[in-house]
Symmetry: C2
Subunit: 259 residues, 2 copies
Amino acid sequence: MTETDRDAGRPPASERLAAELRARIESGALAPGAKLPSERELAEQHGIARNTVRQAIRLLAESGLVVAEHGRGVFVRPAAAVIRLGNDRYSPKYRSTGLSPFLLECAKRGKAGRFEVLLVERTTPPPDVARRLRLSPTNKSVLRRENVFWADDDPIQRVTTWLPWSVAQGTTLLRDEVGHPFGIHGILEERGHTMARILDEVSARMPTTEERHNLRLPPGVPVLDVLHTSIDTSGEPYELTRFVMRADLSALRYDAPVE
Amino acid sequence: MTETDRDAGRPPASERLAAELRARIESGALAPGAKLPSERELAEQHGIARNTVRQAIRLLAESGLVVAEHGRGVFVRPAAAVIRLGNDRYSPKYRSTGLSPFLLECAKRGKAGRFEVLLVERTTPPPDVARRLRLSPTNKSVLRRENVFWADDDPIQRVTTWLPWSVAQGTTLLRDEVGHPFGIHGILEERGHTMARILDEVSARMPTTEERHNLRLPPGVPVLDVLHTSIDTSGEPYELTRFVMRADLSALRYDAPVE
DNA sequence: TCACTCGACTGGCTCAAGCCAGTAGTAGGC
DNA sequence: GCCTACTACTGGCTTGAGCCAGTCGAGTGA
């Protein structure tokens, strides 16, 4: 059968099915978490090939409306609680809680937050890191710490921190557990680095294959990529952290004076 | 032919081809802007079906590495100059240039920036806007202005500004051309609203169908969604702007004191 | 009661084929 | 010289078929 018979000028069948399903989701007829009919059912109901149904579902998955689970079905993506990270996350006012900002935020949303230290090593900084920390990119001038943050059973952020070796040397920053009630920044403060300013560079993109794997990202979910630099009272950058966060479960918030 | 014969344990053919092409792109063998072999060629060269090649290319397109152009070919996405918007975009220090921050940034990158006013209307604010501006969501309490910003021939940002009607009433804000050398914020300042703080709420997501169309977004490009609130010296929010920006050509930068 | 197996589902991947629609160069006609 | 028509490409969409791999519940055996 040629398309021309009855489809002239109309959008392709896969788009029509996608639009129909999208409407059912947005109207609430298919509630968050609900299971869509199976691909084979949809194909038969609409008189189209299963591959065409798959194309339609791919469109919905790409825009993040549904998630396919192998062997189980395709589900409307449940509205997710969002972890918000603000620029006040480094503010002294939260010191008293003894919680890191991420864990605090998880607690607010009723999620169980935890983190995992993946790696602590002395290494050579990549060029963009070296430039921002004003270090040589050619020798082992930094300590690199790599963490993953979890909320309930989802990995949310992959976090890499670089510290000038001159700052980290001889401190507990070299250990997995830094053992300070106020964390990394507590130690840095004792070493004379009080955070006066932050510089956050924010971008968004699709994840790399590796990030998709590490963060267990469903297809159609971008990541927020934040490069954070801490600057002390004398204007020196002394710490740099890169946050790669799944964008469907994360947001950022900047509350700042106009200078 | 069954897959088991020689593919046992290996990644699927589409992923293998995608990985091969990705490697050729990342090594520079396929430079930015270069044309990939046609789908039919790749299929023949690798002894796989054209549909499988299409699946591989889809994987690359989703992660933003290549762009397919109907009738022309598939091309390695050229590295794009990025427009950065900083939190200092509202700073008085840029007033003297007479350029809006977007146009200033375009000029820096050697791009021709311009904007277009799509709509100016008095309307009822959506609930999230009403809440942030502390207005009633049930009457026509706001002026809504809608703009598109272009760099060269690409639409980069879709910008919607909401102003309380009490603030906008009787000003040139109701006109398409506001006719003030310092733009909207120049007028607001004359009306007694000096920007003391900003509150930016940042998220990233895949575009809606409409946004994909409006911003002419290639597949695999997410958007940055920024909800900006201006707060005056007495702590009152008096202006709210939503920026929807294509993430492959945009970035954000926040430089702020720790309070 | 428990553990295991099996079968009937689910989506995931691939194939080979065909037609459609957009692009760009070329040969003809004026 | 210019425009038009043609043609040989390109990717886009659809079909219908088959096998693979994950899931989950029902039935079976110890």
